[in-house]
Symmetry: C2
Subunit: 794 residues, 2 copies
């Protein structure tokens, strides 16, 4: 077994003997508390012989990364005390939950957050018991952990979360511990470039601490094994000036770490000072630390003949047979006693003053940083009146707008009114998605080389464009969770790139909502444009409307999906989303010219209802239709309206009702989602017994999945994207998927009882129209003119 | 406008005047053909005045990256001719579809693949017309493009595909063009480390060509704007020795590029020679090229007063008003004529011999490389007999196995029998997923530093572990599409990380199946273990069974989902998947000890049926049940069997049928999926009118989505994961989601008509049992002993 702490205290570096001792006591205490969490059900201070019954029956947790995290925490404390810096930390190796819990308990935050877990022997016992125990707290860093905005589950987002937290927080230093396992992920590898988007004048600083403990679960890590010169070259190439702290002798490492951390904080202060004095600081050399210490440091050196400390074998629980194997039990006791708990805690189990001498003043404690509970600091957005941006709609379906272009004007005003509180993220698609008006109010954030020919680039731009959905999402999550607002605009198909990140954020929100001390944060708002039906330049690879399928699998109280059919409804929905809290809102809207249907007042009312009958488009006079034409999404709404128009002209006696759905979750039952409607409401819209032909933006089965309990479900026939597409014209795309107006008319004819014979001629004509359109498109490369220029005929 | 080609041919470098002229002619021809594809409907050789009607009505495509790609292709040809190297290319900037199509037509491959597109003026006209035109070919590099394994849609995977292609292809050089937009993505950033996993002795080589044209859609790129020293440091840090080729004068760039490419190929030959002579070459310095040339090079210099060439404005179509604006039309004509088409093509439109003098011998043409149509080279796997790995099952539910551990023995034999044709990819979870037996036959691939304490690491290991799902997936896709086999094992929840990659691969397969010349490739096989129900160490962040929801949105002919309930069924299913072609197979299986139910013969028969009645577990005597207990997945099967056991003991008169589903797509209608069953078959299993209580592995609505058309759907009640979880015990997890045996019994009682009063006592007892189990777990941190040790009682 390696030393579990310093031997005789000798100071040969920047730390005085007293400082060294203080840091080491804190570190040892945190390590002791970490081991206790993994193993002990009772006897927390080892004041009686350790009995098997005091060992947890299921040993769950991750020791390997924990002592390194504790070391970082101890040293951050030391620097905060010295400099009174405002520091939060991101625990990339979030499996090391014991470290975040132990340090929060040591500095008092844990007890303030959970008063039943007192800061004494009883509280220590409760702390140990609740860790990774049914009814307790997770084994990872989680929403339950004070001081965290970063779930310790899926790896890859530590740095992007850290940068998101730092944006527009000029006084903040975010210490981001990156594990060498996580560093192998793509998203983390792509996050190093974040410094090129950070404004040293207006933003805070991120201090990456790359912790090389050498191993993942079962094998070595790449960055720990490549030549160190390669590693340092990578970091320098990303714009960092790395300092290496390396060793396994605690006293020596403490001195090295203190020197490195102090120098790094000096370094970033210097960069900020230059920038804040007005100097343009592009490509700043941001300081960072490479910390190379053993995995499972201070844990059992070897067990049953195998080396454990310093290898992958210490990843989870180094001693697994403790309940049954007296040898393991003895090793555990020796391990714990090696930290000399009586030196660390007094007779009552309270940390001795010298153990916590390194803890900063209460407001500066890392675990108590209010930015890690961003709702505490959340200010409402100043929002412009959507009516000022409304398009005039003299009559439905007679004029066109590009919905996202209209929204761009609104967002420009949001940006202008909230200069330090709102950012727009996107993978270089802000203009492509026709939100370009925002560049009248701001620029793209850019802190590296510029050319005279450039447009709309500045270090303090509010639009963040990088061709990485992962980075956009990670930055935005970090920004939101520290109490700010934002919008992520993306091509619809490529939102799937962040499916898994969305999962983790939704899980974070779900758990946070159950914790009274976590205050609500701004919702994560997605604007998905360049959607499946209008991928004119790109084709099949860019056609996937399934992100909303993914989203609705999350907990219903978290997720909202909106499919506004035109510009005014898009404005209304976006305004609503920007005011909401603790949700994931997904808005899908087209950027191509599309018909306007609703004046703003009607748009607001329609969006508030979420779904409604468009009486002006139907022929049922408000009651007792023969068939319901339903639609959700801009292109399906166009096709459904065109189908209604055809039916009005060719089958004037047929009573057609048109229902438009904006808020997709309205389709669910009221008990299943907060927006769900009662069966009575549903039947009032869709009827319990009449055929419903539903033109849907996405995969058709999503509508079935949301409505399968409805009385009339057997009469529901949904058209949507069925994974047919290529580079072709807009109308050919809907034809390929049988979502076109002609096919919808055929669907109606096939489904209304008794209509078959009477409408046989019309059905044939619809088939002929499809053939005509297909032939025209194949020959001329464009939609048939009467399709392209169609407007609503009433 | 910049020069569209070299002026007077002056050789001041490695190329002779004749070589320089040959390369330049080919490049100009490819550029000419690229512009023609974007713009022209007729008049392909400009032998008459260019009329607006000869311009495509919708100008779709991406010019910006195209001339750079054409340049790379020309120079690769030159080197292939000189050295007879076996080269394939990966077009990372796959939006530059015109380049891949143009070069394939120039070298004759296109006409061999599509005989109607002849290599003359008529064929040229057909080539132009079909590009990005309805009924034609996509605007991106796509399956339709000869010589490609890489869809030009979603960005990030060029390098991982390239490495996948290079593995076990010792004679192959994969030239991977990486765009500077793509280089910002996380997955691409994480791909540079692939060299640390490449064996110079047994694998081929990848030559990255990082093309900095400076811009994405609307803004600059990071790597083009950071100091060049930073860029080179990054590349060196990743283990590459970069050579910079930079300029906008074609003749000078040709000389530089020829010198750099020649030196790179020499360099990689030298590394391979050392390794193949037996030297251990860890951390080889692989050559690469940084190519800095203008975006939209040789296109219009400026349009309407704005600089276009060399800026983001040339990203898609530099001249957009050609049909309506005579000035634009004139610019287009000047642009095209600048390539001097009469020098390039003869009177019939056939490329002149000197234009294609640089093309290699037919078998060496890049676009004709058979590895880019991997099915041509595919060899069947040599598969062991699953019976040799079967577990004995004397009676159902009496003994336990760890299913994936049993599978590990089988996979060990697969690895041993297919030493150059099969790889296992996974994010460091092979042992964690209990497939560790494979390490008896092989090691982890590892070509960087090793320590004496390491285990199971070697340059030629068949197991590829990197903590990047993106890299695992990208490598495997590249490996499969070049005609080999593999398996991706991952934690279930984190399969979502590659949702979007799965989309693109499924789309590739769907389109490929429609192209007779593309031969079937081995299926992409996922083994998802460490699943939602057994995340003992990790908890909520690791609980998400939704990958299968995502997969079933893909085209039905492509996707298969299997939920084997025990070890023998897992063997049978895996054996089937490894023999299949052109599918995405997802297998979900637990790694924890679980009961064995079926002897191997029965397992094979059950898997072949995909779903079946387990008569031995039911009480309906094979006919006319009162209720059906259905199940899919290992943990749900355990709970359903336990529920059946409780019902047998406590309600012996109740006729219970137990149905187990292995092949999830069996639930769909026969018209919707090749594995779907007829309504008659479905009703024979599930009855048309009796209550069905379905215990499901994933989100419950997935079962509803698959069965909503069934007669008995209204009687179907599904239990599954409803997003409730934390770090707790296995039985507490199923209780949290109401999937436990006691709740299933309650569900049966609540749904069988007339059972309520008779079974009220049992129902209460079930509730009490749940409370007892919850209390035991909260107190002791473990499942109640009678739950934990439950075995089947018949």
């Amino acid at each position: 077994m390696a030393s579990t702490g310093t031997g005789p205290v000798v100071s040969t570096g920047v730390l005085s003997p007293e400082e060294l001792r203080g840091i080491d006591l804190y570190w040892r205490a945190a390590n002791y508390l970490s081991v206790g969490q993994i193993y002990l059900l009772g006897n927390p201070l080892l004041r009686e012989p350790l009995a098997p019954a005091q060992i947890k029956p299921r040993l769950l947790g991750h020791w390997g990364t924990t002592p390194g995290l504790n070391l970082v925490h101890a040293h951050l404390n030391h620097q905060i005390r010295r400099r009174d810096t405002d520091v939060m930390w991101i625990v990339g190796p979030g499996h090391g939950g014991p470290a975040a819990v132990a340090t929060a308990w040591l500095d008092g935050t844990y007890t303030e957050t959970y008063p039943s877990v007192t800061r004494d022997a009883d509280g220590m016992a409760a702390l140990f018991r609740r860790f990774s125990f049914p009814g307790g707290v997770p084994s990872h860093v989680a929403p339950e952990t004070p001081g965290s905005i970063h779930e310790g589950g899926e790896l890859g987002y530590a740095l992007s979360h850290a940068f998101g937290a730092a944006f527009d927080n000029p006084g903040l230093v975010v210490a981001a511990v990156v594990g060498d396992g996580e560093a192998e992920t793509g998203p983390l590898a792509g996050s190093w470039q974040s410094g090129r988007f950070l404004d040293p004048a207006r933003d805070g600083a991120v201090l990456p601490i790359l912790h090389l403990n050498g191993y993942k679960i079962a094998g070595p890590t790449v960055l720990a094994r490549i030549p160190e010169a390669d590693l340092l070259a990578q970091m320098r190439g990303h714009g960092y000036e790395p300092r290496v702290v390396s060793g396994d002798d605690p006293a020596a490492v403490h001195q090295e770490m203190a020197a490195a951390l102090g120098a790094c904080l000096d370094g970033l202060d210097a960069i900020q000072a230059r920038a804040r004095a007005g100097e343009e600081v592009a490509d700043a050399r941001w300081p960072m630390i490479v910390m190379r210490t053993p995995k499972g440091w201070t844990g059992p050196g070897s067990v049953d003949g195998d080396q454990v400390e310093g290898t992958w074998r210490s990843h989870q629980v180094p001693l697994t047979g403790v309940r049954d194997d007296p040898g393991h039990l003895r090793l555990l006791r020796e391990w714990l006693e090696g930290y000399r708990p009586d030196e660390l805690f007094d007779a009552d189990g309270v940390p001795r003053p010298e153990t916590v001498a390194v803890v900063p003043r209460p407001e500066r404690r890392i675990s108590a940083n209010p930015r890690a509970n961003g709702g505490l600091l959340l200010r409402d957005l100043v929002l412009p009146d959507i009516r000022d941006h409304a398009v005039e709609v003299a009559a439905p379906g007679t004029a066109t707008s590009e919905a996202t272009r209209v929204l761009g004007g609104y967002l420009r005003d949001v940006v202008a009114a909230n200069p330090d509180n709102f950012r727009i993220m996107g993978p270089d698609e802000t203009r492509s998605n026709r939100l370009g008006a925002v560049f009248e109010a701001t620029d793209r954030a850019w802190s590296t080389g510029r050319l005279p020919t450039d447009r709309e680039l500045a270090p303090d731009g509010r639009v963040m464009e990088v061709l990485s959905e992962h980075l956009c999402q990670g930055w935005l999550e970090g920004y939101l969770l520290t109490g700010r607002h934002g919008l992520f605009n993306s091509y619809e198909a490529f939102a799937h790139i962040v499916d898994s990140m969305l999962n983790q954020h939704a899980k974070w929100l779900k758990v946070s909502r159950g914790l009274p001390w976590r205050r609500p944060v701004a919702s994560l708002n997605y604007l998905l444009s360049s959607h499946v039906w209008r991928q004119d330049h790109n084709g099949f690879s860019h056609q996937d409307p399934g992100f909303i399928d993914h989203v609705v699998n999350k907990k219903p109280e978290i997720v909202r999906v909106y499919l506004p059919p035109d510009a005014n409804t898009l404005l209304s929905v976006t305004d609503h989303c920007l005011r909401s809290r603790d949700y994931v809102n997904v808005v899908v809207a087209g950027k191509q010219p599309g018909l306007d249907y609703l004046p703003m007042d009607e748009a607001v009312a329609h969006c508030a209802r979420g779904a409604g009958i468009w009486e002006w488009a139907g022929t049922d006079g408000g009651a007792d239709p023969d068939v319901v034409l339903a639609c959700a999404g801009d292109v399906p709404t166009l096709e459904a309206l065109a189908a209604a128009d055809l039916l009005r002209r060719h089958l004037p006696d047929l009573r057609v009702r048109l229902v438009n759905v904006v808020d997709l979750m309205r389709l669910t039952n009221e008990g299943e989602h907060p927006h769900g409607m009662s069966d009575r409401q549903y039947d009032a819209l869709f009827t319990p017994d009449k055929p419903v032909v539903f033109a849907f933006h996405g995969y058709p089965w999503l509508v079935h999945r949301l409505t399968y309990r409805r009385t009339g479900h057997a009469n529901l026939h949904v058209r949507g994207y069925k994974e047919e597409g290529t580079t072709t014209t807009p109308f050919d795309m809907v034809m390929l998927n049988d979502l076109d107006r002609f096919h919808l008319v055929m669907d109606v004819i096939d489904r209304v009882p008794g209509l078959g014979v009477r409408a046989a001629g019309l059905r044939q004509r619809m088939l002929d129209e499809r053939l005509r359109c297909r032939a025209h498109t194949r020959e001329h490369g464009e939609d048939a003119p009467d399709i392209r220029d169609w407007t609503w005929e009433r």
